[in-house]
């Protein structure tokens, strides 16, 4: 046997016992994991949140969580509370085991930490950012603020325009919470083309008061087709 042949043969003989090159060799990553043992943030986010909240690559029905402005509003404790307890009466389910969900406390902590990793202070607008929560403002002032900041897209009366749909549809308003409306009023839906509070009118960011007023106006439109607040049926998944 010449050396030229002996060397590959020797290598093959050495490779055989290690066998790591074989595609069939199971790795620890293939190992079955109980759902409550999963500790990878991506896996947790993808299997629990991605259907409703986008992660920057997809888009979904509810607001994207991978939004630096939105995350700067939200305290980690608040996020933890929302994941654990859900938002009662709305389509955000409770995930903590003690609330009927599937996630352990540790997994919720992993989710909170992972989502907060998406924070990026360098991408925040310069204008003073309104706080996450505040009491509703003044309805009449909100009407004026809406005309100024929102009507160009959502229509003069909010019933929808060229660029965006109705935000005063009673069924829509029945489905979302006051806080959610405030959240959108501040952070918008950047992935869908609803700008945040600082970018609706060029050079004129909304003041915290205007945000509270607009929210109050939207909430005040929450009436049914008979002009009354629609009955809300407590909904379960």
């Amino acid at each position: 046997m010449t050396a030229a042949r002996a060397i590959p043969a020797l290598l093959a003989a050495l490779a055989l016992p290690s066998c790591d090159w074989m595609p069939g060799k199971p790795t620890l990553a293939d190992k079955w994991q109980a759902p409550s043992e999963i500790t990878s943030f991506t896996e947790l986010y993808n299997s629990n949140c991605l259907g409703c909240h986008a992660d920057g690559r997809s888009i979904a029905g509810s607001n994207t969580l991978k939004d630096p402005l939105y995350l700067s509003l939200l305290a980690p404790e608040k996020l933890r509370e929302i994941i654990a307890a859900g938002i009662n009466g709305h389509s955000m389910p409770a995930f903590a085991k003690e609330n009927g969900g599937q996630l352990t406390d540790q997994q919720i902590d992993i989710l909170v930490a992972g989502i907060m990793e998406w924070r990026d202070p360098s991408k925040l607008p310069a204008a003073p950012i309104p706080p996450y929560s505040a009491p509703l403002g003044d309805v009449a002032a909100g009407n004026a603020a809406f005309a100024q900041y929102c009507a160009s897209c959502h229509g003069a009366d909010g019933n929808g325009g060229e660029k965006a749909g109705s935000v005063v549809n009673p069924y829509y308003l029945d489905l979302v919470s006051d806080q959610y409306l405030r959240t959108i009023a501040i952070a918008g839906r950047p992935e869908l083309g609803c700008p945040d509070f600082a970018h609706r009118v060029p050079g004129r960011p909304m003041s915290p008061q205007e945000v509270s007023d607009v929210t109050a106006w939207l909430v005040s439109r929450r009436v049914n087709e008979f002009g009354q607040p629609p009955q809300t049926i407590p909904n379960q998944p």
């Binding site: 595609p23 069939g24 620890l28 949140c49 029905g61 749909g165 549809n169 069924y171 829509y172 489905l175």
Partner: protein
Amino acid sequence: MKPAAQKIADLGLSVFNWVDDRLHVRKVWESTAGHHVPQSAGSWFYVFGSATLLCLMMQLVTGTLLALVYVPSADEAYATLEYLTYQQQLGWFLRALHYWGSDFMVGIMCLHMTQVFLWGAYKYPREITWISGLVLLVLTLGLAFTGQVMRFDEDAYWGLGIGAAIVGRVPFVGQQLVDFMLGGQIIGSETLSRFFALHVFVLPGSILAVVALHLRMVLTKGINEYPVPGMVVRRETYDKEYAAILKKEGVPFFPKAIDKDIIAAAFVIGGIVACACIFGPKGPSGPADPLHIDSSPRPDFWFLWIFAVAALMPEEIETFALLVGPVIIGIILVALPFVNGTGEKSWRRRPMAVIVVILVWVSLGMLTYLGATSPWSPVMDGWSSLPVGKEQIAGRSPLELQGAVTLQFKQCRNCHMVDGLGGERGPDLTDVGMRLTAPQLARQVVQGGGNMPAYGQNLSPAEVEALVAYMTTLVPEGVPPAQDFTLTKAAKQ
């Protein structure tokens, strides 16, 4: 003086003669490996039997090696498998060889049986060959079945569950039989030791005994000559005709007819090793724990069709299908060589036989496909995990966006696909707006229908409105949404 080499050769010969005189080695060799077979039997179609036997031998070797590590107790079985798979040097490879060997063995055995059936080899005088083959079929399936129980993971649970469901339906003594099978009321350590004893002692022992009978019959009644259309089997004349064939063109099996079997053997071993290298062993999946509600146990490949049958059959026929069905099939198969023992052998002259084979393989194939994809089982975390495509979100109004959220929240996605992701219990909703109008959509959601639950009680009016508004937007670009033609017509008049 003889040369030394000659002396040694003489000595060797006399030792051999001494042994042969006692063990009849030569005679045994001549009557087995050397027995004469029709030259026409040296066909590629005749290799499946020996290939099945080869798989059995491989299973015995790999199985023995596995048994060195495996501990058949409910507490330790799973841990020893994990040890084999992730720690023991090449342990995973051994498991993979045994797993793929089993798959190959069942598959090749089915090919063998098909070939024997199509080539009329079950006919006179090979009835006992056929029947012992049927026993081998049952034993081999039994080995494959008990083998998947050895994994003692959630898939093993499926096997035990369906087994208990079948024996539990036996009239009068059903419950007693279930207790006997599981070794108690519940699946536990007793169950595992029972199936271990079956898998490593009872079934392999029986299979070896029946293989001996099967081969004995092959030797005494000869290998089926390659059938020629028009050559008809008659009980009165067949034996003479076969003897004449042997006389005219008989060749010793070894070395004249074995070449193809050896090449086939190389392919089988190569196939098993390749699959083991490329795909590795199966599982173990989650530990067998009845408290894991979101597990979706699934049997090994060759039992997927039973999985499909069990899931799809209507409840009223369950007892019949599970209990009476196998008995009827068994009777038909055993009776075959007696009812249909003479006549044409060649499949070219037996259209019914060909049709039966095609029907059986196609239906088994379709059921296996269904079992593998199991479209009846909902995607349990579909609602929270599956996003929809950009086309299904972009440009939607706030109400429609809430509809998209409600579609997730109410777990519609677990049964319905949108944009290629989701369950398959119900129709794909990606283009549903093209098929149904808003009132039709609302009716479907509120009243349910078909296999869909009625959501009326569980949805607020706003949720219905949002869902319907969203679904009407689910139309491909450039296609108008569904219209109610009675309405448009009425409007025009």
